[in-house]
Amino acid sequence: MRSDRNQSAPLGVKLAAAAGLLFLHLPILLIFVYAFTTEEKSYQWPPPGFTLDWLSVTWNRPDVWTALGLSVKVAVVSTTIALVLGTLCAAAVSGTKFFGREVVSLLVILPIALPGIITGIALRSAFNLADIPFSFWTIILGHATFCVVVVYNNAVARFRRTSGSLVEASMDLGADGFQTFRHVILPNIGTALLAGGMLAFALSFDEVIVTTFTAGQQQTLPIWMLEELVRPRQRPVTNVVAMVVVLVTFLPILAAYYLTREGDQVAGSGK
Protein backbone atom coordinates (compact mmCIF):
# COMPACT_ATOMS: atom_id res chain seq x y z
CA MET A 1 0.00 0.00 0.00
CA ARG A 2 1.25 3.46 -0.60
CA SER A 3 0.79 5.75 2.33
CA ASP A 4 -2.25 7.90 2.39
CA ARG A 5 -1.21 10.59 0.00
CA ASN A 6 -0.51 13.96 1.55
CA GLN A 7 -2.72 13.32 4.49
CA SER A 8 -1.49 13.65 7.99
CA ALA A 9 -2.80 11.45 10.74
CA PRO A 10 -5.72 12.55 12.89
CA LEU A 11 -4.55 14.05 16.15
CA GLY A 12 -5.96 11.15 18.16
CA VAL A 13 -3.93 8.62 16.21
CA LYS A 14 -0.80 10.72 16.56
CA LEU A 15 -1.23 11.04 20.31
CA ALA A 16 -2.03 7.37 20.80
CA ALA A 17 0.93 6.32 18.68
CA ALA A 18 3.23 8.67 20.55
CA ALA A 19 1.94 7.47 23.90
CA GLY A 20 2.38 3.87 22.79
CA LEU A 21 5.97 4.46 21.73
CA LEU A 22 6.66 6.26 24.97
CA PHE A 23 5.24 3.30 26.86
CA LEU A 24 7.61 1.06 24.90
CA HIS A 25 10.66 3.14 25.60
CA LEU A 26 10.49 4.66 29.06
CA PRO A 27 11.30 1.38 30.82
CA ILE A 28 14.24 0.94 28.47
CA LEU A 29 15.44 4.39 29.37
CA LEU A 30 15.23 3.29 32.97
CA ILE A 31 17.49 0.34 32.20
CA PHE A 32 20.01 2.83 30.87
CA VAL A 33 19.71 5.07 33.90
CA TYR A 34 20.33 2.22 36.31
CA ALA A 35 23.43 1.19 34.41
CA PHE A 36 25.01 4.27 35.97
CA THR A 37 23.60 4.31 39.48
CA THR A 38 26.02 4.44 42.38
CA GLU A 39 23.94 2.08 44.43
CA GLU A 40 24.47 -1.59 43.78
CA LYS A 41 22.25 -3.67 45.99
CA SER A 42 18.74 -2.73 45.14
CA TYR A 43 17.62 0.00 42.87
CA GLN A 44 16.40 3.11 44.63
CA TRP A 45 14.40 5.81 42.99
CA PRO A 46 15.64 8.37 42.35
CA PRO A 47 19.17 7.00 42.01
CA PRO A 48 21.43 8.42 44.72
CA GLY A 49 24.19 9.25 42.23
CA PHE A 50 25.75 8.33 38.95
CA THR A 51 28.99 6.60 38.06
CA LEU A 52 30.70 5.05 35.08
CA ASP A 53 32.32 2.38 37.23
CA TRP A 54 29.93 -0.36 36.21
CA LEU A 55 31.26 -0.30 32.68
CA SER A 56 34.69 -1.39 33.81
CA VAL A 57 33.29 -3.74 36.43
CA THR A 58 31.28 -5.45 33.75
CA TRP A 59 34.21 -5.55 31.40
CA ASN A 60 36.25 -7.33 34.04
CA ARG A 61 33.68 -9.93 34.96
CA PRO A 62 34.68 -13.21 33.32
CA ASP A 63 31.21 -14.71 33.86
CA VAL A 64 29.71 -12.03 31.62
CA TRP A 65 32.07 -12.98 28.86
CA THR A 66 31.45 -16.70 29.15
CA ALA A 67 27.70 -16.23 29.13
CA LEU A 68 27.91 -13.77 26.26
CA GLY A 69 30.15 -16.13 24.34
CA LEU A 70 27.75 -19.01 24.77
CA SER A 71 24.75 -16.90 23.82
CA VAL A 72 26.41 -15.66 20.67
CA LYS A 73 27.50 -19.14 19.70
CA VAL A 74 24.04 -20.53 20.34
CA ALA A 75 22.37 -17.73 18.41
CA VAL A 76 24.73 -18.04 15.46
CA VAL A 77 24.37 -21.79 15.15
CA SER A 78 20.59 -21.77 15.71
CA THR A 79 20.15 -18.99 13.20
CA THR A 80 22.23 -20.85 10.64
CA ILE A 81 20.20 -24.01 11.07
CA ALA A 82 16.97 -22.03 11.00
CA LEU A 83 18.08 -20.32 7.79
CA VAL A 84 18.63 -23.62 6.07
CA LEU A 85 15.49 -25.33 7.33
CA GLY A 86 13.28 -22.25 6.97
CA THR A 87 14.42 -21.55 3.43
CA LEU A 88 13.96 -25.14 2.34
CA CYS A 89 10.50 -25.21 3.80
CA ALA A 90 9.53 -21.87 2.31
CA ALA A 91 10.82 -22.89 -1.11
CA ALA A 92 8.91 -26.16 -0.99
CA VAL A 93 5.70 -24.58 0.20
CA SER A 94 5.66 -21.63 -2.16
CA GLY A 95 7.09 -23.35 -5.18
CA THR A 96 4.57 -26.13 -5.55
CA LYS A 97 1.19 -27.29 -4.47
CA PHE A 98 1.32 -30.68 -2.81
CA PHE A 99 -0.75 -32.72 -0.52
CA GLY A 100 -0.06 -31.76 3.08
CA ARG A 101 1.22 -28.32 2.24
CA GLU A 102 -1.03 -26.75 4.85
CA VAL A 103 0.21 -29.24 7.41
CA VAL A 104 3.79 -28.24 6.75
CA SER A 105 3.08 -24.56 7.20
CA LEU A 106 1.19 -25.30 10.40
CA LEU A 107 4.04 -27.45 11.64
CA VAL A 108 6.50 -24.64 11.13
CA ILE A 109 4.33 -22.16 13.00
CA LEU A 110 3.62 -24.52 15.87
CA PRO A 111 6.84 -23.99 17.87
CA ILE A 112 6.18 -20.27 18.09
CA ALA A 113 2.43 -20.61 18.50
CA LEU A 114 2.78 -22.98 21.43
CA PRO A 115 4.16 -21.46 24.61
CA GLY A 116 7.91 -21.81 25.01
CA ILE A 117 7.54 -23.75 28.21
CA ILE A 118 5.90 -26.55 26.27
CA THR A 119 8.71 -26.70 23.77
CA GLY A 120 11.05 -26.62 26.73
CA ILE A 121 9.71 -29.45 28.80
CA ALA A 122 8.83 -31.54 25.76
CA LEU A 123 12.42 -31.43 24.59
CA ARG A 124 13.68 -31.92 28.09
CA SER A 125 11.63 -35.01 28.71
CA ALA A 126 12.67 -36.30 25.30
CA PHE A 127 16.31 -35.80 26.29
CA ASN A 128 15.62 -37.70 29.48
CA LEU A 129 13.91 -40.55 27.68
CA ALA A 130 16.66 -40.78 25.10
CA ASP A 131 19.38 -40.36 27.74
CA ILE A 132 20.84 -37.37 25.99
CA PRO A 133 23.00 -35.34 28.37
CA PHE A 134 22.60 -31.57 28.33
CA SER A 135 25.07 -29.88 26.05
CA PHE A 136 25.53 -27.00 23.68
CA TRP A 137 23.56 -29.00 21.15
CA THR A 138 20.56 -29.51 23.38
CA ILE A 139 20.25 -25.73 23.60
CA ILE A 140 20.57 -25.50 19.84
CA LEU A 141 17.87 -28.08 19.36
CA GLY A 142 15.41 -25.91 21.27
CA HIS A 143 16.42 -22.60 19.78
CA ALA A 144 16.60 -23.65 16.15
CA THR A 145 13.12 -25.16 16.48
CA PHE A 146 11.42 -21.88 17.22
CA CYS A 147 13.76 -19.82 15.02
CA VAL A 148 12.76 -21.69 11.86
CA VAL A 149 9.43 -19.94 11.74
CA VAL A 150 10.74 -16.39 11.47
CA VAL A 151 13.04 -17.29 8.63
CA TYR A 152 10.24 -19.24 7.02
CA ASN A 153 7.81 -16.35 7.27
CA ASN A 154 10.21 -13.86 5.76
CA ALA A 155 11.25 -16.22 3.01
CA VAL A 156 7.69 -17.23 2.14
CA ALA A 157 6.64 -13.60 1.89
CA ARG A 158 9.54 -12.88 -0.42
CA PHE A 159 8.99 -15.95 -2.55
CA ARG A 160 5.40 -14.86 -2.93
CA ARG A 161 6.47 -11.43 -4.10
CA THR A 162 9.26 -12.64 -6.32
CA SER A 163 7.74 -13.33 -9.69
CA GLY A 164 7.84 -17.01 -10.50
CA SER A 165 8.66 -16.06 -14.05
CA LEU A 166 12.15 -15.06 -12.90
CA VAL A 167 13.02 -18.69 -12.34
CA GLU A 168 11.52 -19.60 -15.66
CA ALA A 169 13.35 -16.76 -17.34
CA SER A 170 16.60 -18.04 -15.93
CA MET A 171 16.00 -21.58 -17.14
CA ASP A 172 14.83 -20.23 -20.45
CA LEU A 173 18.16 -18.47 -20.80
CA GLY A 174 20.02 -21.72 -20.29
CA ALA A 175 20.66 -21.85 -16.55
CA ASP A 176 20.11 -25.23 -14.94
CA GLY A 177 18.56 -25.67 -11.50
CA PHE A 178 21.74 -25.00 -9.57
CA GLN A 179 22.72 -21.99 -11.62
CA THR A 180 19.24 -20.60 -11.21
CA PHE A 181 19.44 -21.02 -7.46
CA ARG A 182 22.86 -19.42 -7.29
CA HIS A 183 22.25 -16.51 -9.67
CA VAL A 184 18.56 -15.72 -9.32
CA ILE A 185 16.85 -17.22 -6.28
CA LEU A 186 19.54 -16.54 -3.73
CA PRO A 187 20.13 -12.89 -4.66
CA ASN A 188 16.40 -12.26 -4.67
CA ILE A 189 15.59 -13.76 -1.31
CA GLY A 190 18.89 -12.69 0.25
CA THR A 191 17.64 -9.63 2.04
CA ALA A 192 14.58 -11.43 3.32
CA LEU A 193 16.82 -14.13 4.71
CA LEU A 194 18.94 -11.46 6.32
CA ALA A 195 15.93 -9.92 8.00
CA GLY A 196 14.63 -13.31 9.06
CA GLY A 197 18.05 -14.28 10.29
CA MET A 198 18.30 -11.14 12.38
CA LEU A 199 14.97 -11.77 13.98
CA ALA A 200 15.92 -15.38 14.63
CA PHE A 201 19.16 -14.22 16.19
CA ALA A 202 17.28 -11.80 18.42
CA LEU A 203 14.82 -14.45 19.46
CA SER A 204 17.54 -16.90 20.34
CA PHE A 205 19.76 -14.34 21.99
CA ASP A 206 17.06 -13.29 24.44
CA GLU A 207 15.39 -16.61 25.05
CA VAL A 208 15.06 -17.74 28.66
CA ILE A 209 12.14 -20.06 28.91
CA VAL A 210 13.07 -22.80 26.50
CA THR A 211 16.71 -22.48 27.46
CA THR A 212 15.95 -23.04 31.13
CA PHE A 213 14.82 -26.52 30.23
CA THR A 214 17.45 -27.44 27.69
CA ALA A 215 20.63 -25.89 29.03
CA GLY A 216 21.37 -28.01 32.07
CA GLN A 217 23.96 -26.04 33.99
CA GLN A 218 25.21 -23.95 31.09
CA GLN A 219 24.59 -20.25 31.30
CA THR A 220 23.46 -18.27 28.31
CA LEU A 221 23.32 -14.53 28.80
CA PRO A 222 19.64 -14.42 29.80
CA ILE A 223 20.06 -17.31 32.21
CA TRP A 224 23.04 -15.53 33.68
CA MET A 225 20.93 -12.39 34.00
CA LEU A 226 18.14 -14.25 35.75
CA GLU A 227 20.61 -15.55 38.29
CA GLU A 228 22.24 -12.16 38.61
CA LEU A 229 19.04 -10.17 39.02
CA VAL A 230 18.00 -12.26 42.00
CA ARG A 231 21.23 -11.38 43.76
CA PRO A 232 21.31 -7.92 45.27
CA ARG A 233 24.91 -7.46 44.37
CA GLN A 234 26.26 -5.53 41.42
CA ARG A 235 22.82 -5.49 39.85
CA PRO A 236 23.78 -2.58 37.58
CA VAL A 237 26.05 -5.00 35.76
CA THR A 238 23.02 -6.63 34.19
CA ASN A 239 21.82 -3.21 33.11
CA VAL A 240 25.15 -2.43 31.54
CA VAL A 241 24.97 -5.69 29.63
CA ALA A 242 21.38 -5.06 28.52
CA MET A 243 22.25 -1.53 27.47
CA VAL A 244 25.30 -2.58 25.50
CA VAL A 245 23.28 -5.23 23.71
CA VAL A 246 20.72 -2.63 22.65
CA LEU A 247 23.37 -0.18 21.50
CA VAL A 248 25.38 -2.80 19.65
CA THR A 249 22.32 -4.10 17.81
CA PHE A 250 21.09 -0.66 16.80
CA LEU A 251 23.06 -0.49 13.57
CA PRO A 252 22.35 -4.02 12.32
CA ILE A 253 18.63 -3.48 12.87
CA LEU A 254 18.72 -0.28 10.89
CA ALA A 255 20.79 -1.92 8.19
CA ALA A 256 18.36 -4.80 7.91
CA TYR A 257 15.52 -2.34 7.59
CA TYR A 258 17.05 -0.52 4.69
CA LEU A 259 18.20 -3.72 3.03
CA THR A 260 14.82 -5.39 3.11
CA ARG A 261 13.07 -2.25 2.04
CA GLU A 262 15.27 -1.77 -0.97
CA GLY A 263 14.87 -5.44 -1.74
CA ASP A 264 11.13 -5.04 -1.86
CA GLN A 265 11.30 -2.11 -4.16
CA VAL A 266 13.53 -3.90 -6.58
CA ALA A 267 11.48 -7.07 -6.44
CA GLY A 268 8.31 -5.13 -7.08
CA SER A 269 9.80 -3.30 -10.00
CA GLY A 270 10.45 -6.43 -11.98
CA LYS A 271 7.03 -5.93 -13.46
Binding site: L166, E168, D172, L173, G174, D176, P187, N188, S269, K271
Partner: protein, 330 residues
Amino acid sequence: MTSAVSFENVSRHFGAVRAVDAVDLDIRPGEFFAMLGPSGSGKTTCLRLIAGFEQPTGGSISIFGERAEGVPPYRRNVNTVFQDYALFPHLNVLDNVAYGLMVKGVSRAERGRQAEEALKLVQLPGYGARKPGQLSGGQRQRVALARALVNKPRVLLLDEPLGALDLKLRENMQEELKLLQRALGITFVFVTHDQGEALSMADRVAVFNDGRIMQVGAPQDIYERPQSRFVADFVGSSNVLPPEFVARHGGARRWASLRPEKIRLGEANGAGVSGTVRARSFLGATNRVTVEAEGVRLHAVVPAGLPLPDDGAETRLSWSPADLHLMEEA
Protein backbone atom coordinates in the same frame (compact mmCIF):
# COMPACT_ATOMS: atom_id res chain seq x y z
CA MET B 1 11.47 -28.58 -45.06
CA THR B 2 11.25 -29.40 -41.37
CA SER B 3 8.98 -27.17 -39.34
CA ALA B 4 10.48 -24.81 -36.79
CA VAL B 5 7.90 -26.03 -34.30
CA SER B 6 5.53 -28.85 -34.88
CA PHE B 7 2.67 -30.02 -32.63
CA GLU B 8 1.16 -33.40 -33.28
CA ASN B 9 -2.10 -33.84 -31.51
CA VAL B 10 -0.72 -32.06 -28.45
CA SER B 11 -2.82 -31.73 -25.31
CA ARG B 12 -2.10 -30.16 -21.98
CA HIS B 13 -4.82 -30.80 -19.43
CA PHE B 14 -4.79 -29.47 -15.88
CA GLY B 15 -7.14 -31.83 -14.13
CA ALA B 16 -10.47 -31.15 -15.76
CA VAL B 17 -9.25 -28.00 -17.52
CA ARG B 18 -8.24 -28.66 -21.11
CA ALA B 19 -5.86 -25.75 -21.52
CA VAL B 20 -4.58 -27.13 -24.82
CA ASP B 21 -6.63 -29.83 -26.46
CA ALA B 22 -5.45 -32.02 -29.33
CA VAL B 23 -3.68 -29.28 -31.25
CA ASP B 24 -1.90 -29.82 -34.55
CA LEU B 25 0.35 -27.03 -35.60
CA ASP B 26 3.29 -26.36 -37.92
CA ILE B 27 5.27 -23.19 -37.64
CA ARG B 28 7.58 -22.58 -40.57
CA PRO B 29 11.22 -21.60 -40.13
CA GLY B 30 11.69 -17.87 -40.27
CA GLU B 31 8.06 -16.92 -40.13
CA PHE B 32 6.35 -14.45 -37.85
CA PHE B 33 3.60 -16.53 -36.33
CA ALA B 34 0.86 -15.08 -34.15
CA MET B 35 -1.36 -16.90 -31.71
CA LEU B 36 -4.58 -14.99 -31.24
CA GLY B 37 -7.44 -15.77 -28.95
CA PRO B 38 -9.47 -14.62 -26.00
CA SER B 39 -8.28 -14.86 -22.43
CA GLY B 40 -7.94 -18.43 -21.22
CA SER B 41 -7.96 -19.95 -24.69
CA GLY B 42 -4.61 -21.68 -24.23
CA LYS B 43 -2.19 -19.39 -26.02
CA THR B 44 0.23 -19.03 -23.12
CA THR B 45 0.09 -22.73 -22.43
CA CYS B 46 1.09 -23.45 -26.03
CA LEU B 47 4.02 -21.12 -25.72
CA ARG B 48 5.06 -22.71 -22.45
CA LEU B 49 4.92 -26.11 -24.10
CA ILE B 50 7.36 -24.91 -26.73
CA ALA B 51 9.65 -23.30 -24.17
CA GLY B 52 9.55 -26.42 -22.03
CA PHE B 53 7.91 -24.98 -18.93
CA GLU B 54 5.03 -27.37 -19.38
CA GLN B 55 5.00 -30.96 -20.53
CA PRO B 56 2.24 -32.15 -22.87
CA THR B 57 -0.17 -34.63 -21.37
CA GLY B 58 -0.62 -36.06 -24.82
CA GLY B 59 0.84 -35.83 -28.33
CA SER B 60 4.33 -34.81 -29.27
CA ILE B 61 6.25 -31.65 -29.95
CA SER B 62 9.32 -31.25 -32.12
CA ILE B 63 11.53 -28.26 -32.59
CA PHE B 64 13.38 -28.21 -35.87
CA GLY B 65 12.70 -31.88 -36.20
CA GLU B 66 13.99 -32.89 -32.78
CA ARG B 67 11.65 -34.35 -30.21
CA ALA B 68 11.33 -31.97 -27.29
CA GLU B 69 9.55 -34.02 -24.64
CA GLY B 70 11.53 -34.40 -21.44
CA VAL B 71 14.05 -31.77 -22.46
CA PRO B 72 14.28 -29.06 -19.79
CA PRO B 73 13.98 -25.41 -20.88
CA TYR B 74 17.66 -24.76 -20.37
CA ARG B 75 18.53 -27.31 -23.01
CA ARG B 76 16.20 -25.91 -25.67
CA ASN B 77 17.62 -23.39 -28.05
CA VAL B 78 14.45 -21.37 -27.73
CA ASN B 79 14.07 -18.13 -25.84
CA THR B 80 11.14 -16.29 -24.40
CA VAL B 81 10.18 -12.65 -23.93
CA PHE B 82 7.86 -12.76 -20.96
CA GLN B 83 4.72 -10.72 -20.70
CA ASP B 84 5.93 -9.05 -17.52
CA TYR B 85 9.49 -9.09 -18.92
CA ALA B 86 10.79 -11.03 -15.89
CA LEU B 87 13.95 -8.97 -15.79
CA PHE B 88 16.20 -9.89 -12.89
CA PRO B 89 15.71 -7.04 -10.47
CA HIS B 90 19.05 -7.57 -8.75
CA LEU B 91 21.10 -7.34 -11.92
CA ASN B 92 21.75 -4.27 -14.01
CA VAL B 93 20.67 -4.12 -17.62
CA LEU B 94 23.98 -5.35 -18.99
CA ASP B 95 24.10 -8.33 -16.64
CA ASN B 96 20.50 -9.11 -17.46
CA VAL B 97 21.30 -9.22 -21.13
CA ALA B 98 24.52 -11.14 -20.55
CA TYR B 99 22.83 -13.68 -18.27
CA GLY B 100 22.40 -16.41 -20.87
CA LEU B 101 26.02 -16.07 -21.91
CA MET B 102 27.22 -16.08 -18.33
CA VAL B 103 25.56 -19.37 -17.49
CA LYS B 104 27.09 -20.79 -20.65
CA GLY B 105 30.49 -19.81 -19.33
CA VAL B 106 31.33 -17.09 -21.85
CA SER B 107 34.12 -14.85 -20.51
CA ARG B 108 33.16 -11.60 -18.88
CA ALA B 109 34.75 -9.42 -21.56
CA GLU B 110 33.18 -11.32 -24.41
CA ARG B 111 29.72 -11.42 -22.96
CA GLY B 112 29.95 -7.71 -22.13
CA ARG B 113 30.73 -7.05 -25.75
CA GLN B 114 27.90 -9.16 -27.08
CA ALA B 115 25.40 -7.76 -24.59
CA GLU B 116 26.40 -4.23 -25.52
CA GLU B 117 25.82 -5.13 -29.15
CA ALA B 118 22.40 -6.60 -28.40
CA LEU B 119 21.50 -3.43 -26.52
CA LYS B 120 22.50 -1.44 -29.56
CA LEU B 121 20.22 -3.63 -31.63
CA VAL B 122 17.24 -2.69 -29.47
CA GLN B 123 18.35 0.94 -29.44
CA LEU B 124 19.41 1.06 -25.82
CA PRO B 125 23.15 1.54 -26.11
CA GLY B 126 24.69 2.88 -22.92
CA TYR B 127 21.85 1.75 -20.68
CA GLY B 128 23.85 -1.20 -19.38
CA ALA B 129 24.54 0.20 -15.94
CA ARG B 130 20.93 0.93 -15.02
CA LYS B 131 18.79 -1.31 -12.88
CA PRO B 132 15.53 -2.56 -14.46
CA GLY B 133 13.64 -0.48 -11.87
CA GLN B 134 15.02 2.65 -13.48
CA LEU B 135 13.59 1.95 -16.91
CA SER B 136 10.23 2.77 -18.44
CA GLY B 137 7.94 0.01 -19.64
CA GLY B 138 9.00 0.28 -23.24
CA GLN B 139 12.66 0.22 -22.31
CA ARG B 140 12.19 -2.85 -20.17
CA GLN B 141 10.48 -4.54 -23.04
CA ARG B 142 13.50 -3.91 -25.22
CA VAL B 143 15.89 -5.20 -22.59
CA ALA B 144 13.86 -8.39 -22.36
CA LEU B 145 14.13 -8.67 -26.12
CA ALA B 146 17.88 -8.09 -26.11
CA ARG B 147 18.30 -10.62 -23.33
CA ALA B 148 16.57 -13.25 -25.42
CA LEU B 149 18.22 -12.34 -28.74
CA VAL B 150 21.76 -12.35 -27.42
CA ASN B 151 21.49 -16.15 -27.13
CA LYS B 152 20.78 -16.47 -30.84
CA PRO B 153 17.78 -18.72 -30.30
CA ARG B 154 16.32 -20.62 -33.22
CA VAL B 155 12.82 -19.75 -32.09
CA LEU B 156 11.83 -16.64 -30.15
CA LEU B 157 8.64 -16.81 -28.13
CA LEU B 158 6.88 -13.59 -27.18
CA ASP B 159 3.95 -13.66 -24.75
CA GLU B 160 1.93 -10.49 -25.22
CA PRO B 161 5.11 -8.46 -25.12
CA LEU B 162 3.28 -5.25 -25.88
CA GLY B 163 0.31 -5.77 -23.58
CA ALA B 164 1.61 -3.51 -20.84
CA LEU B 165 2.61 -0.64 -23.08
CA ASP B 166 0.40 2.28 -23.88
CA LEU B 167 -1.08 2.68 -27.32
CA LYS B 168 1.43 5.04 -28.83
CA LEU B 169 4.43 3.09 -27.64
CA ARG B 170 2.80 -0.12 -28.70
CA GLU B 171 2.42 1.01 -32.28
CA ASN B 172 6.08 1.97 -32.43
CA MET B 173 7.18 -1.33 -30.95
CA GLN B 174 5.02 -3.27 -33.37
CA GLU B 175 6.84 -1.73 -36.25
CA GLU B 176 10.26 -2.25 -34.68
CA LEU B 177 9.62 -5.86 -33.80
CA LYS B 178 8.54 -6.66 -37.28
CA LEU B 179 11.61 -5.02 -38.82
CA LEU B 180 13.85 -6.89 -36.42
CA GLN B 181 12.29 -10.22 -37.21
CA ARG B 182 12.71 -9.62 -40.92
CA ALA B 183 16.33 -8.65 -40.44
CA LEU B 184 17.28 -11.57 -38.18
CA GLY B 185 15.28 -14.27 -39.88
CA ILE B 186 14.54 -15.92 -36.55
CA THR B 187 11.22 -17.69 -36.18
CA PHE B 188 8.99 -15.53 -33.97
CA VAL B 189 5.99 -16.98 -32.18
CA PHE B 190 3.90 -14.18 -30.84
CA VAL B 191 0.96 -14.42 -28.47
CA THR B 192 -1.67 -11.70 -28.34
CA HIS B 193 -5.33 -11.22 -27.71
CA ASP B 194 -5.39 -8.06 -29.79
CA GLN B 195 -6.64 -8.88 -33.26
CA GLY B 196 -5.27 -5.67 -34.75
CA GLU B 197 -1.83 -6.54 -33.54
CA ALA B 198 -2.02 -10.09 -34.86
CA LEU B 199 -3.27 -9.01 -38.27
CA SER B 200 -0.80 -6.23 -38.78
CA MET B 201 2.31 -8.06 -37.62
CA ALA B 202 2.05 -11.73 -38.46
CA ASP B 203 2.79 -13.77 -41.56
CA ARG B 204 0.30 -16.32 -40.32
CA VAL B 205 -2.20 -16.31 -37.50
CA ALA B 206 -3.66 -19.16 -35.46
CA VAL B 207 -6.94 -18.31 -33.78
CA PHE B 208 -7.42 -20.13 -30.47
CA ASN B 209 -10.57 -20.84 -28.59
CA ASP B 210 -11.01 -23.10 -25.60
CA GLY B 211 -7.71 -24.88 -26.02
CA ARG B 212 -8.27 -25.58 -29.71
CA ILE B 213 -7.13 -23.91 -32.89
CA MET B 214 -10.16 -22.61 -34.80
CA GLN B 215 -8.35 -21.48 -37.92
CA VAL B 216 -4.79 -20.95 -39.16
CA GLY B 217 -3.94 -18.76 -42.09
CA ALA B 218 -2.61 -15.50 -43.46
CA PRO B 219 -4.14 -12.36 -41.91
CA GLN B 220 -6.23 -11.63 -45.00
CA ASP B 221 -7.61 -15.16 -44.99
CA ILE B 222 -8.58 -14.95 -41.40
CA TYR B 223 -10.08 -11.53 -41.72
CA GLU B 224 -11.91 -11.99 -44.98
CA ARG B 225 -12.75 -15.67 -44.95
CA PRO B 226 -13.47 -16.68 -41.37
CA GLN B 227 -14.52 -20.29 -41.23
CA SER B 228 -16.61 -20.02 -38.12
CA ARG B 229 -18.78 -17.65 -36.22
CA PHE B 230 -16.21 -17.48 -33.49
CA VAL B 231 -13.42 -16.37 -35.81
CA ALA B 232 -15.61 -13.88 -37.58
CA ASP B 233 -16.73 -12.45 -34.30
CA PHE B 234 -13.33 -12.35 -32.71
CA VAL B 235 -11.21 -11.18 -35.61
CA GLY B 236 -12.15 -7.74 -36.82
CA SER B 237 -15.46 -6.34 -35.70
CA SER B 238 -17.41 -8.17 -38.35
CA ASN B 239 -21.16 -8.41 -38.23
CA VAL B 240 -22.11 -12.03 -37.72
CA LEU B 241 -25.46 -12.75 -39.24
CA PRO B 242 -27.70 -15.65 -38.24
CA PRO B 243 -28.86 -18.14 -40.90
CA GLU B 244 -32.47 -16.86 -40.97
CA PHE B 245 -31.36 -13.32 -41.57
CA VAL B 246 -28.98 -14.44 -44.29
CA ALA B 247 -31.69 -16.57 -45.90
CA ARG B 248 -34.06 -13.60 -46.01
CA HIS B 249 -31.53 -11.23 -47.55
CA GLY B 250 -30.13 -13.03 -50.50
CA GLY B 251 -27.90 -15.77 -49.16
CA ALA B 252 -28.23 -19.42 -48.33
CA ARG B 253 -29.48 -20.56 -44.91
CA ARG B 254 -26.00 -20.29 -43.31
CA TRP B 255 -24.16 -18.15 -40.81
CA ALA B 256 -22.44 -15.32 -42.62
CA SER B 257 -20.10 -12.46 -41.82
CA LEU B 258 -20.41 -8.97 -43.19
CA ARG B 259 -17.68 -6.42 -42.63
CA PRO B 260 -18.95 -3.08 -41.29
CA GLU B 261 -17.17 -1.02 -43.92
CA LYS B 262 -19.09 -2.91 -46.60
CA ILE B 263 -22.47 -1.72 -45.35
CA ARG B 264 -23.94 1.33 -47.01
CA LEU B 265 -26.46 3.48 -45.16
CA GLY B 266 -29.28 4.95 -47.19
CA GLU B 267 -32.56 6.78 -46.99
CA ALA B 268 -35.22 5.13 -44.89
CA ASN B 269 -37.25 4.28 -47.96
CA GLY B 270 -34.44 3.13 -50.26
CA ALA B 271 -33.46 -0.46 -51.01
CA GLY B 272 -32.12 -2.96 -48.45
CA VAL B 273 -32.89 -3.85 -44.86
CA SER B 274 -34.48 -1.19 -42.73
CA GLY B 275 -33.47 -0.59 -39.12
CA THR B 276 -33.21 1.93 -36.30
CA VAL B 277 -30.02 3.80 -35.41
CA ARG B 278 -29.05 2.92 -31.85
CA ALA B 279 -25.69 4.61 -31.41
CA ARG B 280 -23.01 6.48 -33.27
CA SER B 281 -19.38 6.77 -32.38
CA PHE B 282 -16.67 8.89 -33.80
CA LEU B 283 -13.62 6.82 -34.64
CA GLY B 284 -11.51 9.59 -36.15
CA ALA B 285 -11.21 8.71 -39.79
CA THR B 286 -14.58 7.01 -39.67
CA ASN B 287 -17.81 6.91 -37.75
CA ARG B 288 -19.41 3.74 -36.53
CA VAL B 289 -23.18 3.54 -36.60
CA THR B 290 -25.01 0.84 -34.67
CA VAL B 291 -28.29 -0.14 -36.25
CA GLU B 292 -30.88 -2.58 -35.04
CA ALA B 293 -32.55 -4.35 -37.91
CA GLU B 294 -34.90 -7.31 -37.67
CA GLY B 295 -33.69 -8.04 -34.16
CA VAL B 296 -30.02 -8.08 -35.19
CA ARG B 297 -27.53 -5.45 -34.15
CA LEU B 298 -25.33 -4.39 -37.03
CA HIS B 299 -22.37 -2.06 -37.12
CA ALA B 300 -21.71 0.04 -40.16
CA VAL B 301 -18.55 2.06 -40.58
CA VAL B 302 -18.88 5.26 -42.59
CA PRO B 303 -15.95 7.45 -43.62
CA ALA B 304 -15.87 10.73 -41.73
CA GLY B 305 -17.38 13.50 -43.70
CA LEU B 306 -20.32 11.50 -45.06
CA PRO B 307 -23.66 12.49 -43.50
CA LEU B 308 -24.74 10.39 -40.50
CA PRO B 309 -28.35 9.49 -39.62
CA ASP B 310 -29.51 10.72 -36.21
CA ASP B 311 -29.82 8.54 -33.11
CA GLY B 312 -33.19 6.81 -33.19
CA ALA B 313 -33.75 7.55 -36.84
CA GLU B 314 -34.90 4.91 -39.33
CA THR B 315 -32.38 3.99 -41.95
CA ARG B 316 -31.78 1.37 -44.60
CA LEU B 317 -28.75 -0.88 -44.84
CA SER B 318 -27.51 -2.36 -48.05
CA TRP B 319 -24.48 -4.34 -49.23
CA SER B 320 -23.38 -6.12 -52.33
CA PRO B 321 -23.97 -9.88 -52.19
CA ALA B 322 -20.29 -10.57 -52.85
CA ASP B 323 -19.39 -9.02 -49.52
CA LEU B 324 -21.59 -11.41 -47.59
CA HIS B 325 -19.17 -14.16 -46.60
CA LEU B 326 -20.92 -17.45 -45.92
CA MET B 327 -19.19 -19.52 -43.28
CA GLU B 328 -18.54 -23.23 -43.15
CA GLU B 329 -20.17 -23.46 -39.77
CA ALA B 330 -23.84 -24.24 -40.19
